[in-house]
């Protein structure tokens, strides 16, 4: 067992876990933040994407103790005071989610990306979104929602 401190969504968590424990599992089990979903555990599906110091990362490809000293942001911190972020609101309005399992990873990816590129083209959105698999929507409405969110920002 290994004791380490994590800073997630501005809160400190003292975690006792084996060093091999994936960040995705520690967030879900030790921090009880189950909004980060696990879809493949080999970095392909993007469902577990969180932000590490503001940059997107697959939580399944990070061993939790590696995150000591970094700021982690998860889906639970995106809506502020019960108000959806513009991206979340746009996904709601454009029906950009169905089963909802991949949604957190997509929101986290684009919360980061839209800060870097606030007015992306559709081709740019599709290129970045290609890192997140969605089996329900065919991506059409997700792309539309992201472009809507960017246009409104």
């Amino acid at each position: 067992m290994y004791e380490f401190e994590l800073k997630v969504n501005g809160e400190r968590y003292v975690v006792r876990a084996e060093p091999r424990k994936l960040l995705s599992d520690v967030l879900r089990e030790d921090c009880r933040l189950t909004g980060t979903h696990v879809g493949c555990e080999h970095g392909v599906c993007g469902a577990c994407t969180v932000l590490v110091d503001g940059k997107p990362a697959r939580a399944c490809l990070v061993y939790a103790p590696q995150m000591e000293g970094h700021e982690i942001t998860t889906i639970e911190a995106v809506a502020k005071d019960g108000k959806l972020s513009p991206l979340q609101q746009a996904l709601h309005e454009a029906h950009g989610l169905q089963c909802g399992f991949c949604t957190a990873g997509i929101v986290m990816t684009f919360e980061a990306y839209l800060k870097e590129n606030p007015r992306p083209t559709e081709a740019e959105v599709r290129e970045v979104l290609a890192g997140n698999l969605c089996r329900c929507t065919g991506y059409h409405n997700i792309v539309r929602a992201i472009l809507d969110a960017a246009a409104k920002a």
Binding site: P19, H42, G46, Y63
Partner: protein, 271 residues
């Protein structure tokens, strides 16, 4: 898909990392973890110890000096692809780094990790070999530099000694009128390239790097011509991809020819 147990070490300095590396028998270095972690999660690799390089300061720099662009081993692909220094002085590298995996993968994956992993289909080993970058290795006895073309030995195997760590790579700056192009063919955005072609056209003619085809990146030069079709055909004749149930060798050869031709055409047509 959970990794086997390992001891975790996070050295604060290169010296400490090198000391750990020589003390611990069965240890793996981890930087971005974008290749290693999937293999560990699938238990294809189960090291007894993991040495995390992310705590070492100063290994992620990108700078230009003495005719080289020097990039620290911990520089992330996203930073490399978007660095104005790289874009200006080594545009082939910027292009290729931007074609790696996906946004989140590029945000974490590192130059050193990609070079050390030495996947024959990966972008950075291909560009390093094509430009014949120097790879800077640190060991207990100090630093040594090795030409990229000597560094890649075979499938996921390099000249890196078990007690060495990649600390940087030095890419020659492109000459003022040099042109370059990177093309790849993959099934989907972000997938490993079935074939990748890195091409430069300078005063000494064409240099072509071909990735994904044999067990390490191949580099061809001295064609005596810049005619796209004939060079592409010549390159096709010089590669011998292995048969693979997913990708027949003849298909890879065709891709080599077409991508080579297209890369050369990009170089010769761009202003």
């Amino acid at each position: 898909m959970k990794p086997a147990p390992f001891r975790y070490h996070r050295p604060g300095s290169l010296a400490e990392a090198l000391a750990l590396l020589s003390q611990l028998g069965d240890a793996k270095l981890i930087a971005g973890g974008q290749s290693l972690a999937p293999m560990m999660n699938m238990r294809l690799v189960s090291p007894a110890a993991l040495i995390d390089l992310n705590g070492i300061a100063g290994l992620d720099g990108i700078s230009e000096r003495n005719g080289f662009v020097e990039i620290g081993a911990l520089a992330r692909h996203h930073a490399v692809a978007n660095s104005s220094v790289v874009k200006t002085h080594c545009p082939l590298l910027a292009q290729a780094a931007g074609a790696i995996g996906h946004y989140a993968i590029r945000a974490r994956g590192t130059l050193g990790g990609s070079l050390a992993h030495a996947d024959p289909a990966a972008q950075l080993p291909l560009v390093a070999a094509t430009l014949n970058a120097e790879i800077v290795l640190a060991g207990k006895r100090g630093e040594r530099r090795i030409a990229a073309r000597d560094f890649f030995v075979s499938l996921m195997s390099t000249a890196l000694a078990p007690d060495e760590i990649i600390v940087a790579a030095r890419f020659p700056k492109s000459a003022p009128r040099e042109r370059c192009a990177y093309t790849q063919f993959s099934r989907r955005t972000g997938d490993f390239a079935l074939v990748g072609v890195a091409c430069t056209l300078g005063s000494d003619g064409l240099t072509l790097g071909i990735g994904g085809v044999e067990d390490k990146p191949l580099v061809f030069a001295d064609f005596g011509t810049t005619d796209a079709a004939s060079v592409a055909h010549a390159v096709r004749e010089r590669v011998s991809p292995a048969e693979n149930p997913r990708v027949p060798a003849v298909f890879r050869k065709e891709l080599v020819e077409i991508l080579t031709r297209r890369a050369i055409q990009q170089c010769t047509s761009s202003n």
